[in-house]
Symmetry: C2
DNA sequence: TTCTCTACTGTGAACGCTCACAGAAGCATG
DNA sequence: CATGCTTCTGTGAGCGTTCACAGTAGAGAA
């Protein structure tokens, strides 16, 4: 009367079982599992067959214990969370990174550093080596978590150029300045001259760069800068609405507005509507992001598409390279103007 | 010439180092780490001090290797991903679960089962015991992944009542039927009689329940059911717009509409606007979810708030209980009517 | 005293894997 | 025939924990 599987869950097969089944040693199975160098074709085949028969799956804990690698990476959000969780781009980024990592069979751990307590716990967790690297969403300046991780030598790739961290940390970003330039050039080409802007948060490089692009093109077009035409926002819908009201108040002759995010542009459209301005006849509106919000409004937004799928892929690529020993790298990806009905 | 830390990363302290530092044995340190039963106060104190001095953090791989637990759980999304990634509720749920788990010092692994390939990999990963349990977002019927996990005996908690899975799987859901009832009662109390509905996908229990609630209240109020007043949608904005157009076409005298999601309600508002109907004067509109979309539109949506924070907390609580040996449980949480300007 | 019980502590053996090393076999070269 | 090289394979050790077990010490009971 054997007791191989009496009632409970069966003990999963180990590398030992596979070795016995295939008639080889543990070492050979391990070699097949990790690349298959220095293994004869016959052994290779026998092992693979045994793996299939037994349904063997490697025990990652045992592997990690000896290799020191965890073969998992963290996706860390330290931004003010509301901003991001309201932002559809975040979803796209998170999904892209998860899928890119899945292709390498690496699980993604989601880490949200909201409270001080969470910050401490996460820092300990990461520096203790429980992840091999970190995908970081935190572009604002002076982030203490990012700084600690950098000092601890944890491989790090930020989304968007980080402020205040040295060149030791990699980042992947869309070309914010160039995207802003494209949009403002587009508005200029439509004959608009009183072009306003609602900026993003100016403690983020994205916010700064988009503003810079706006200013550059105006200067190049020989259009005089006018501070009354610039209002500051924080990417939220509400701040877009407030910004537009401010602009209409200070510069009623505004004939176009470049808004640093689609979400804010939603607010801008609402404010313009309330003020009785027609879009695009009276005021042309250009957004940024090409988020789902862009097509959810009437008129559909002309906007700048950020290549989120490429951004997430590049973040993963750069991070894995850095874990593999490469030097930190900066990747800047081009944006694309998407013309719809608001200009 | 010692070589304790020559250049590279220092080897992290082990339980052995802590034991030596505290002048006790590994076993005692381990006992302190896991609850502290049968440890003298003096040893307890010495160990804690040593842990603080050395900066020791337990090696979870070594622990998992012997305990068989992974002390991590998976957050699995098998729904058509677009629907969810467009849905702000998903974010709230994901964030809530992550934070609830963080409170237990349990990391959350994000798993997206989109393609067939991903499905296979994830199933293998989970059934191999790399997570202790799964938070499942997949209410649609006949989900093969969920079915396999259930068969393998993996602790499972679904968000929303799953169709087709036996009573072996726990779930946490808002009271969809009662929420729908509240909204339709509200519309009836406003004197509306020609009340339409744009449903959610009818292969999900949420979609079915909301429709049932709508029908119940109409019957109770003595209002004759009229199939021309029911259009089906899939929670997406576009399907809301299409649904409203259909309703206006088939029942031009409609004076109210209950929409099974805020996102669809956005589309409904757009369609009504296009058709020249005033909201709420001509047609009152009630949504469902209380997502950010509800306040982003004009007029702001009257809607049904789902208690997402409680839902995520309960999902985690039920899952951990089930991992601890408890029987599967079903939790249904009450919703709340939020009145704004669209009714 | 002697025994039993409780509270506490240390020790070896695992957990499943990889890695370094030793060695075997085959083949070319001296 | 010895020597070296390459390709392949098996073996033992050890990664950092927990767990079962064997102790030890002290208190109370017989």
């Amino acid at each position: 009367m054997t007791m191989t599987n009496a009632g409970g869950r069966r003990r999963p097969p180990t590398i030992h079982d596979v070795a016995r089944e295939a008639g080889v040693s543990r070492g050979t199975v391990s070699r097949v599992l990790n690349g298959g160098h220095y293994v004869s074709p016959a052994a290779q085949e026998a092992v693979n067959a045994a793996i299939r028969r037994t349904g063997y799956v490697v025990n990652r804990h045992a592997r990690s214990l000896i290799t020191g690698r965890s073969d998992s990476i963290g996706f860390l959000l330290t931004e003010p969370q509301e901003r991001f969780f309201e932002d559809p781009n975040f979803n796209v980024l998170l999904r892209g990174c998860t899928q890119a990592l899945a292709g390498h069979d690496i699980p993604l751990l989601l880490m949200l550093a909201g409270t001080e307590d969470e910050r401490r716990r996460i820092t300990r967790y990461i520096t203790a080596g429980h992840v091999d690297g970190v995908l970081l969403v935190s572009s604002h300046s002076g982030d203490p978590v990012a700084e600690q991780l950098r000092e601890a030598g944890v491989p790090l790739v930020a989304c968007g150029k980080p402020i205040g961290l040295g060149s030791k940390v990699s980042y992947v970003a869309a070309d914010d300045r160039d995207g802003a330039r494209d949009m403002v050039k587009h508005l200029v080409s439509l004959g608009r001259r009183r072009i306003g802007m609602v900026t993003g948060p100016l403690d983020t490089p994205g916010g700064v760069e988009r503003l810079a692009g706006y200013r550059e093109v105006l200067a190049e077009a020989g259009i005089e800068a006018d501070d009354r035409l610039v209002a500051s926002g924080d990417y939220s819908r509400a701040s877009g609405e407030a910004g537009a009201e401010q602009l209409l108040d200070r510069a009623p002759d505004m004939d176009a507005v470049f808004v640093a995010s689609d979400l804010m542009a939603q607010g801008v459209l609402a404010a313009l509507h309330k003020a009785g301005r027609r879009v695009p006849e009276d005021v042309a509106v250009g957004g940024f992001d090409d988020s789902p919000a862009a097509t959810a409004v009437t008129p559909a937004l002309t906007t700048i598409r950020q290549p989120w799928d490429r951004i997430s892929n590049e973040m993963v690529r750069v991070l894995l390279a850095q874990i593999g020993g490469d030097d930190p790298a900066a990747v800047i990806l081009p944006t694309e103007l998407v013309r719809r009905d608001s200009t």
